[in-house]
């Protein structure tokens, strides 16, 4: 299969503008007769559904949550990037584009990334107009902060709740369309399959999670905005219900899963505390603006801290290894996520981990507290401030900046981060890979689109902080509303799709059989226990560092686990009832396949790039080593019912940036 990216011709900076002006349109009277299904109501889904509704399409929107407002976009903390250059610090669309390409280790499509940078400006305007309370300066204008991998301040934020506020903005826009009838909302409906008619995506099969009833929903096209697959790892910063099923079912119906091995491990999460742990909590990257990452230099100190004989604050300055500042003086604590995570792994692999499990490093705010305290003293004109006074004032400033994050940390761990450094460790956070899409965000299945984290398009092998919100909203508000017309302009003569056609009936039957099969196994092990085991395999063999041997072993282990699942899983309850265990079982069944394709992709990619680190391919200093000659391509995988997967390549063409070894030194 040849993969056509459909990137328009012309100069990089003009592609999108020119393309938009010449694109096929659907007239308003025809829009009224065209139905669009949007699955998912996170930033991408809600913004797409709302905007398509505003344009006049008949939109049917689906979420498995009880309300569209609960999608996991809500948990994003730190911020959203935009090349507004409000800070006058040299930012520009090109710089945002370049930072994103470079941050992604040169594995993303130039044209998509540039479009993202262009649109970033409009997103902020739109959000503010919707009433999103982004942070402001005293003069009433918008404030910015810095994020990893970047040397300008371009991140807009809303305290530590940027995702929540942006999602509520999109949710409100969606609610407005629901109230005027242009969007019909289906809450508590989970997509369990894609329906294709004559090769085109024409509908979905859903399960009403309250009654268990299977439903057939038809439309002229289907838009997936169903998020990432990080929960393959069981422990991740994703929400408990985040899953890959909608995307994976589409892959099984012919779509392709692109770059599945690119998973982002976020460096600042609260470490695992025990076996019962159900999820990991992220501490926003923005903390690295002021927090310094360190481990003790001497093993004796490490042991003393683990045993509780020494407190972290007892370790003298010269006995601390601020390893990010040491290794990467130019970016210091603000290196990109993949780099920071790997550095933490190196430190703990050397045995320097500072908690009982040996899997934690310190994130220390003392220097920031002192610095802010001193500058407060100066600004208040206090001549000889006491140490206590400086700390007090410094803590106040830190509290204003990160108060809710500090509070959250204390709630979870019971430690007070104003007095003792936070303990952090990397955790799975985001997946750069996803359903393969072209420039129009259309998959290789005509009429099937994928937006936001669900697609693979803009971040390459690593995503920079505060770019996920940007991409989700760019896709939903400003890309799909245009590009969907490229497909739908040819569909204006297509009558309403009949959901009683053979294809729909067949698809529904297949779903019912799959549910019956899982319920009838009646084995002895819970779904949760399988998921936990899958997660351990993934983390062990396809986590922060991978190698061929481990991946081969991991693939076999997943295959065995999958066989065991279908032999011995126990799912209580009935199919025609509210049954969260059944929902989970169907999702884990798909993760058990997704995990394998991730490993296959990781095994195929004989290089280290961004979130994919193969221990065989590293420099002497332990930095990732790309292989641009052989692997500058998108690896898109198909998967047939028999579990056979096949690789399809889309070569990445770089016309504007020169491929370089990333350096943050």
């Amino acid at each position: 299969m040849s993969l056509e990216s459909n990137v328009p011709k012309g100069a990089l900076a003009e592609k999108w503008t020119n393309y938009r002006s010449k694109m096929n349109l659907v007239a308003p009277n025809n829009k009224r007769r065209i139905e669009v299904i949007v699955v998912g109501t996170g930033l991408a889904g809600a913004s797409a559904a709302a905007t398509l509704g505003e344009l006049g399409y008949k939109v049917k929107c689906f979420t498995f949550h009880d309300s569209p407002r609960r999608a996991h976009s809500i948990a994003a903390q730190g911020g959203i990037n935009a090349a507004k250059n409000y800070q006058n610090d040299g930012d520009s669309i090109y710089r945002l584009f370049y930072d994103t390409i470079k941050g992604g280790d040169y594995r993303s499509r130039e044209a998509n990334t540039h479009r993202l940078a262009e649109i970033s400006l409009e997103i902020i305007d739109q959000a503010v107009a919707q009433g999103v309370p982004l942070a402001r300066e005293y003069g009433g204008l918008l404030a910015n902060r810095s994020f990893g991998g970047v040397q300008v301040s371009r991140t807009f934020y809303a305290r530590g709740q940027t995702g929540q506020q942006l999602l509520l903005g999109a949710y409100q826009a969606l609610s407005r369309q629901i109230s005027n009838g242009s969007v019909v909302m289906h809450n508590r409906h989970e997509m369990l399959d894609l329906v294709k008619v004559d090769g085109k995506a024409r509908g979905i099969i859903t399960r009403n999670l309250l009654t268990g009833k299977l439903e057939r929903h038809a439309a002229h096209c289907v838009v997936l905005a169903t998020g990432g697959y990080g929960n393959v790892f069981y422990l991740s910063t994703n929400a408990m219900m985040s899953n890959v099923s909608a995307a994976w079912r589409s892959v099984k119906k012919g779509a392709l899963m692109a770059n599945p091995c690119y998973t982002q491990i976020h460096p600042t999460c609260i470490p695992v505390s025990g076996e019962y742990q159900s999820k990991l909590t992220l501490m926003s990257e923005s903390l690295r603006n002021d927090g310094r990452v360190w481990v003790p230099k001497n093993m004796e100190d490490v042991m003393a801290i683990r045993e509780g004989k020494l407190k972290p604050t007892d370790i003298k300055e010269e006995d601390r290894d601020y390893y990010l500042e040491r290794r990467y003086p130019a970016f210091g604590n603000l290196v990109p996520r993949d780099v920071a995570s790997r550095a933490a792994k190196i430190a703990t692999d050397e045995g320097k981990g500072v908690n009982k499990t040996g899997l934690a490093v310190f994130l220390d705010f003392e220097a920031a507290i002192q610095r802010y305290g001193n500058s407060e003293a100066i600004s208040k004109g206090i001549a000889n401030p006491s140490k206590d006074m400086i700390r007090k004032m410094g803590k106040e400033v830190v509290k204003q900046k990160y108060g809710n994050l500090f509070q959250m940390y204390e709630k979870i761990t019971g430690d007070n981060p104003y007095e003792t450094p936070m303990k952090i460790y990397p955790a799975v956070h985001y997946t750069m890979g996803g359903v393969w899409v072209d420039y129009n965000l259309q998959t290789n299945v005509p009429g099937l689109f994928a937006l936001g984290e669900a697609n693979f398009s803009d971040h390459g092998a690593n995503r920079l902080g505060a770019s996920a919100l940007m991409q989700g909203l760019a896709d939903g508000y400003f890309v799909i509303p245009y590009t969907i017309g490229q497909f739908l302009a040819d569909e204006i003569r297509t009558p309403m799709i009949d959901n009683n056609s053979e294809e729909f009936v067949e698809a529904e039957k297949a779903v019912a059989e799959r549910i019956d099969q899982i319920l009838s196994i009646k084995g002895d092990q819970s779904v949760e226990s399988f998921h936990r085991r899958l997660g351990k395999i993934m983390w062990e063999y396809c986590g922060m560092s991978r190698n061929a041997e481990g991946l081969n072993k991991g693939i076999q282990m997943i295959k065995d686990l999958r066989a065991e699942f279908y032999r011995d899983v126990f799912v209580p309850g009935r199919e025609d009832d509210f049954n969260p265990e059944l929902e989970k079982a169907l999702r884990v069944a798909d993760f058990l396949e997704m995990g394998e394709i991730m490993m296959a992709d990781a095994l195929n990619r004989n290089e280290s790039a961004g979130g994919h680190f193969r221990s065989e391919y590293q420099s002497e200093e332990g930095e990732a080593q790309r292989n641009d000659a052989d692997y500058a391509y998108v690896a898109a995988w198909s998967w047939d019912e028999g579990g056979n997967h096949q690789l399809h390549k889309e070569d990445l063409v770089f016309e504007n940036v020169e491929l370089k070894t990333r350096s943050y030194k």
Binding site: D66, V128, R136, T281
Partner: protein
């Protein structure tokens, strides 16, 4: 630690429910929901139906989790959702009673899960700013005073969990409704539709069958985002304004 749990079990919306008692072994570092996970694993192991409860992000922001623990929504800790409540708040041998939210407008689905779609309908009635995608002026075109913006933010932090309704002896949703009205009213962008929005949202709130605020203010105490009842006063004020100040 060993805990006795008294949990409300109810098969479906129309069945009558009752309390069942369970024993569970927990660890002080567990979150409350992880403790329930342990119980459910135990039940599944015994081939019994696990306790249905709703949860998702488990970091206190999605608003999905919502149970009432010993008579208090989200349990005893102020400013904390159930998922953020950790077992170190309890001690060995404690008995914990867990119930679903009780309110007519939040019918029980099963066990501890309730239907809160009435909140969505209140927002749909007018809890938005009518701006289409692409119509927006430059984000810095209208400066907003920092404190004002911060007050709007305080109201906007609502996670729609329903703890306010759960805590209210009247089953009133006024804190929820008022928080959204306030969030938008405090911003210049939201002022334009403010009057209409207030009357539409209040009308929908009434239609959903929520009770009336008698200023008990338990909602403010139980709100995991500590949203102030100042907002209710603001809503009352703007409701009066919408009646007597408008020509419609």
């Amino acid at each position: 630690m060993k805990l006795n749990l008294k949990i409300w079990r109810q098969k479906g919306p129309d069945s009558t429910g009752g309390f069942e008692t369970y024993m569970v072994e927990a660890d002080e570092h567990m979150s409350f929901l992880e403790m329930l996970d342990v119980l459910n694993e135990q039940l599944i192991h015994e081939k019994k139906e696990p306790v249905a409860f709703e949860h998702d992000c488990r970091e206190g922001i999605c608003g999905t989790c919502n149970m009432v623990i010993d008579g208090r929504p989200h349990g005893p800790q102020q400013g904390t959702t159930t998922c953020q409540l950790h077992m170190r708040a309890y001690k060995d041998g404690d008995t914990i009673t867990i119930e679903p939210i009780r309110a007519k407008s939040f019918p029980i689905i099963k066990d501890l899960a309730v239907d809160r779609s009435s909140f969505d309908r209140i927002i749909q009635a007018g809890g938005y700013i009518s701006v289409n995608t692409g119509q927006a002026p430059d984000a810095n075109a209208i400066p907003i005073e920092k404190d004002q913006s911060s007050r709007a933010f305080d109201a906007a932090t609502c996670i729609g969990c329903g703890a306010c309704v759960a805590a209210c002896p009247n089953g009133s949703a006024m804190l929820f409704t008022a928080a959204k009205i306030s969030h938008l009213a405090l911003l210049p962008q939201g002022k334009v539709e403010h009057t209409k929005r207030t009357s539409k949202m209040v009308a929908q709130m009434d239609k959903e069958g929520f009770g009336m605020c008698s200023n008990v203010e338990a909602c403010e105490v139980e709100c995991p985002k500590e949203i102030s009842t100042d907002n209710i006063a603001r809503m009352n004020r703007s409701f009066l304004g919408s009646i007597f100040g408008s020509e419609g």
